[in-house]
């Protein structure tokens, strides 16, 4: 068992002091001299022809410096995977809120006033809000008639569905039809969820400035600066090299800030005014006009023979809304969730992303996995119940093991799911439990999960050894709050055998930092972490080479520790890193050969190779790894009001290797926030394509008063090392949100024997079903 000096330590976060003293700079904290404020004119209609935009009255308002519409910007489609968006609506609007124009003015209030004075003439078109109608071969409305012409970075499988389908993902493993024909029991169910929003506390905001040389600088709360850069370049028909993205600290992203949402508006206005422009969405715009998690329906059909699932058919339909963005990639990625945990030989999976005229539905924190698990993990309990067996034993029977090959041909490795489930379930079950007390009924339930980390992605890192012996880590991956800055510091400190205080991480400038796909898909601990290690090794190599030259020996004779390089055979003979540099007359020090001690490393997760029609692996691993885990709950249902209280919450996650257990625990706790929110409170209430509850008054997220007693919250960190993870580590950022909803639904079923299949599970739903049950 390796002994580490920094890995596994509960190091306090390197950004913590900044954040508790108000010294941490987020995008909205930037001060740009001469800045203007941008606001957006949005479509009030879900589907309409855009006939005329009259900006004359708005232009007269004092303080308005520019108004832009589609005619001011290139006619380029852009998008995250599928290029289906224009910067501003051209001939049509496709959802309530679609940007039609934008105003830059001296103050936000002036810009708002001007936006109201912009007169837009529409011709309303019929709209489609039901995604099941929208996917038909002859749907009532075709939302993107030019869809076949749109360019795609990632191809879709062939689909026999209608013209509103943007993506169709498939798994065809074994022969489900044959298997279903020979079963003891078939169970079919439908699971649904409403449109939900990640609601990061920092809303989407950015600023843009034209530089004198024609370059554009964009400050953004984007979690994916390289992608933002590429998108802006594509949207404005500019070379990528002319776009610079700077990301300061980010106040939460959760997948909702991986797409261009405010940046393009700031850029368009900055180009027209030749002044810096800031665009900050209101909370209402954040909730109703940025990408959240698409509403969906999942139909699952399982065939049991001899007490085991022999065939599973799952059909997931996701509602993109007017444009797909991140939603485009969800169906494809969701495949991995279907086959990550259980060994079922015959699997048929269809995941369909389709357009409607609903508000935007993309993905957040989970990207297809929570959607699949809402169905699968609820269904596992349903099946166990029908068979009269323990849901824990039932799952155990089906678990994939280390070394197995899963239904799509992936070799399973680093799978700590059984240990996670054991820890959670045993802890929960060993405690005393009072089932009923007057009108209060209690129940226990759990769910397990897998969460893939997608491929292909890449991370490049540069390490600089400074003249004072400290180390700089330069990465293109911003910290969205999950603590990557600290993790990278710990890794560098480990590799250089020095205290963490001597490491400084720099991120957030595409001109200066190397490429990174960013904190998406739970990837940075693994990908960027590996790149940090590689770059450290390269830097150390250069450092030893230089030292060897100076000490007139071979590199292999040397070792190093805490800023000193010494002879292995005679540690007293040493030099400090500082001594590798040569004093410069009147100007500090420099390296007399080779420029700088600059280590470089790229970690490129091998190409994703799956056959589009069968979902089967054709080349190595189609993902980086799976993170696994489990969550268990004890709930109390008030049968008079339908209100659900969570009494106990146990969570386990297999992280491969816990680089910082304190930070991992903090991540696991997030299930108490977003996790229970998604299960019990959160949904966008839509009426004819308009979001009716786009503020915190009515889009409810959980508060501190909703969580169980601290003593009733238990966390288990499980380590099933990942061969090629840094020290065996993998990420867990998204996984922790996956099993909360089905785990709670299973606990509620245990309490009142009612199965809920539509998220969120509100007291209204609970009371209604209780009354129906009672009256039967």
């Amino acid at each position: 068992m390796a002994e580490y000096s920094n890995i596994g330590k509960r190091d306090i976060r390197v950004d913590a002091v900044k954040k508790v003293t108000g010294n941490c700079q987020y995008c909205d904290d930037l001060r740009l001299p001469g800045v203007l404020f941008g606001r957006v004119k949005r479509s009030p209609h879900p589907h309409a022809k855009l006939l005329k935009i009259d900006t004359s009255e708005a232009e007269k308002v004092y303080g308005v410096r520019a108004i832009v519409t589609a005619k001011d910007v290139p006619e380029c489609r852009f998008g995250y995977g599928l290029k289906d968006r224009y910067l501003f609506a051209r001939d049509k609007v496709r959802y309530v809120g679609e940007p039609v124009a934008a105003v830059a003015a001296d103050t936000e209030r002036i810009a708002e006033k001007a936006v109201e004075l912009i007169k837009v003439t529409y011709e309303e078109l019929p709209a489609v809000f039901d995604v099941n109608e929208a996917i038909k071969i002859n749907p009532p409305v075709i939302i993107h008639p030019e869809l076949p012409k749109y360019s795609r970075d990632i191809p879709s499988a062939k689909t026999d569905l209608g013209p509103n389908v943007s993506y169709h993902a498939k798994i065809r493993a074994g022969d489900v039809d044959k298997a279903f024909a020979d079963t003891d029991l078939i169970v079919e169910n439908e699971y649904k969820a409403e449109l939900m929003h990640p609601c990061p506390l920092e809303g989407h905001n950015s600023a843009a400035k034209m530089e004198p040389d024609g370059k554009i600088t964009v400050w953004s709360s984007s979690q994916n600066p390289n992608s933002t850069r590429a998108q802006i370049a594509a949207a404005f028909a500019m070379p990528v090299a002319k776009v610079r993205i700077i990301t300061p600290y980010i106040g939460g992203a959760f997948g909702g800030k991986a797409m261009v949402q405010t940046e393009q508006i700031a850029v368009a206005l900055a180009m027209k005014t030749n002044r810096p422009v800031k665009v900050r969405f209101t909370r209402s715009e954040v909730i109703s006009n940025t990408y959240g998690r698409a509403s969906y329906t999942a139909r699952i059909k399982d065939g049991i023979k001899g007490g085991k699932i022999v065939a599973r058919e799952l059909r997931l339909i996701l509602d993109h809304g007017g444009y797909s963005e991140s939603g485009y990639l969800v169906p494809g990625n969701s495949k991995f969730a279907v086959v990550g945990t259980y060994d079922i030989p015959n699997v048929k999976y269809d995941a369909i992303g389709a357009y409607t005229n609903n508000p935007l539905g993309g993905a957040f924190r989970g990207f297809g996995t929570p959607e699949v698990h809402w169905a699968i993990e609820s269904q596992m309990d349903v099946l166990a119940d029908k068979l009269g067996v323990d849901p824990y034993e039932f799952r155990k029977k089906h678990l994939l093991k280390e070394g197995d090959t899963n239904p799509i041909g992936m070799k399973i490795h680093s799978i700590g799911v059984e240990e996670c489930m054991d820890k959670v379930v045993h802890s929960l079950r060993q405690e005393k439990f009072e089932r009923e007390k007057k009108n209060l009924k209690r129940g226990r339930g759990f769910a397990i999960y897998n969460k893939y980390s997608m491929a292909p992605t890449a991370s490049a890192v540069i390490i600089k050894i400074c003249e004072d012996g400290s180390v700089q880590v330069r990465t293109g991956a911003p910290d969205v709050g999950q603590g990557s800055e600290t993790v990278f510091s710990q890794i560098a400190a480990e590799e250089f055998k020095m205290p963490i205080e001597k490491v400084k991480v720099f991120f957030g400038d595409t001109d200066l930092m190397p490429f990174d796909h960013g904190p998406i898909s739970s990837r940075v601990t693994y990908c960027t972490g590996n790149a940090v290690r590689l770059a450290c090794h390269d830097a150390i190599n250069q450092m030893l080479q230089k030292a060897a030259k100076m000490l007139q020996t071979d590199q292999k004779d040397l070792d190093f520790n805490n800023g000193e390089i010494f002879f292995k055979q005679d540690p007293k003979k040493s030099i400090k890193i500082e001594q590798l540099f040569t004093p410069a007359a009147l100007a500090g020090v420099f390296l007399d050969e080779g420029g700088e001690l600059l280590g470089k490393g790229t970690f490129y997760q091998r190409t994703r190779g799956v056959d589009l029609e069968t979902g089967k692996v054709v080349f190595e691993s189609p993902i980086c790894y799976y993170n696994y885990g489990a969550q268990g709950f004890e709930v109390e249902v008030d049968t008079e009001t339908g209100v659900i209280r969570i009494l106990k919450f146990y969570i386990a996650s297999d992280v491969g290797k816990a680089i910082n257990p304190g930070m991992i625990e903090a991540q696991l706790d997030a299930a108490m926030g977003q996790g229970i929110g998604i299960a019990l409170y959160e949904r966008m209430i839509r009426k004819e394509g308009k979001v009716m509850n786009s503020d915190f008054v009515d889009y409810k997220i959980s508060t501190s008063a909703e969580i169980p007693k601290l003593d009733n919250i238990k966390r288990f960190i499980v380590e099933a090392p990942l061969k090629d993870g840094p020290y065996g580590a993998k990420g867990t950022g998204e996984g922790i949100l996956v099993p909360t909803a089905p785990g709670l639904a299973n606990a509620i079923y245990d309490a009142i024997k009612i199965r809920f299949t539509h998220l969120p599970i509100t007291p209204e739903d609970v009371l209604k079903k209780l009354k129906e049950k009672g009256s039967r």
Partner: protein, 257 residues
């Protein structure tokens, strides 16, 4: 008229109102008072909900009001919001309204035509509509002093903890040593265009001794007395059901005291 600003600023920002002037009462410290006098508890127009929440005497004498006030919004909101402002906002879901109704509260009003007193039951006219005429302001909230035998309770049912009510209920009963109720006041909020007293239910309790059976009778009589709607927070169906539960729970609380 600006006191705490917690309601006004939100609608100002949304653009639903655009006054030319805002007159603030904040700099007049004399307007924030909680005075226990012989006949009335007098509460000044700029007294914040937090000041009321932290007043031990109110907690003892007007338990339902204390319980309601402490569940409004958050500590920050309560540090800014005033009782008078909350009343004038006239939300049918206002948590403070139902306790004030069961305590028979009234407001003093000053206007161009002089002073007048309005019973709270006459003050609420509809959702966000109150009885004030143009140019009138609320200058004081008056609650008749409660004698020792007046027991009260309040309950609020909402989505999460920092939230507006789906339904709220308040009860104030004058009970003698044998738990016979000589006077019953029951009020429900968020189930009608205004927070309201349920006279029919009150009549059932008056003169009787509280029991589980009586409580069942009372909640049966609730049907037809309220007209809850379906909105972003809840459904009329659900509100109808939990109004009964809320009423039952406030009565049971008092019964079990």
């Amino acid at each position: 008229m600006l006191a705490g600003g917690t309601d006004i600023f939100v609608v100002l920002r949304q653009g639903s109102i655009s006054p030319n002037y805002l007159v603030s009462l904040e700099k007049i410290p004399e307007l924030a008072y909680i005075d226990f006098e012989d006949k009335f508890l007098r509460i000044g127009p700029t007294t914040t909900l937090r000041e009321i929440e932290r007043n031990k005497e109110i907690q003892e004498e007007y338990k339902a009001l204390f319980e309601a006030v402490r569940q409004v919004g958050s500590v920050q909101v309560r540090s800014m919001a005033t009782l008078a402002g909350n009343i004038c906002n006239a939300s049918p879901a206002a948590d403070t309204a139902t306790p004030l109704l069961v305590f028979d509260a009234q407001v003093s009003v000053l206007g161009p035509n002089g002073e007048r007193t309005i019973l709270l039951s006459d003050f609420f006219k509809g959702p966000k509509k109150n009885e004030l005429k143009s140019g009138e302001i609320v200058t004081e909230v008056q609650i008749p002093r409660a004698d020792k035998n007046l027991k009260s309770a309040f309950i609020k049912i909402s989505r999460v903890s920092q939230d507006l009510s789906k339904v709220n209920a308040a009860a104030a009963l004058k009970l003698d040593s044998r738990k016979v109720c000589s006077e019953a006041r029951l009020a429900l909020g968020a189930v009608a265009p205004v927070p309201l007293r349920i006279n029919k239910c009150e009549a059932l309790v008056t003169g009787k001794s509280l029991s589980g059976g009586l409580i069942e009778e009372v909640i049966e009589a609730l049907s037809g007395q309220i007209s809850p709607i379906t909105d972003l927070r809840s459904t009329s169906e659900y509100r109808n059901e939990i109004s009964k539960v809320a009423l039952k729970r406030v009565l049971s609380q008092i019964m079990e005291e």
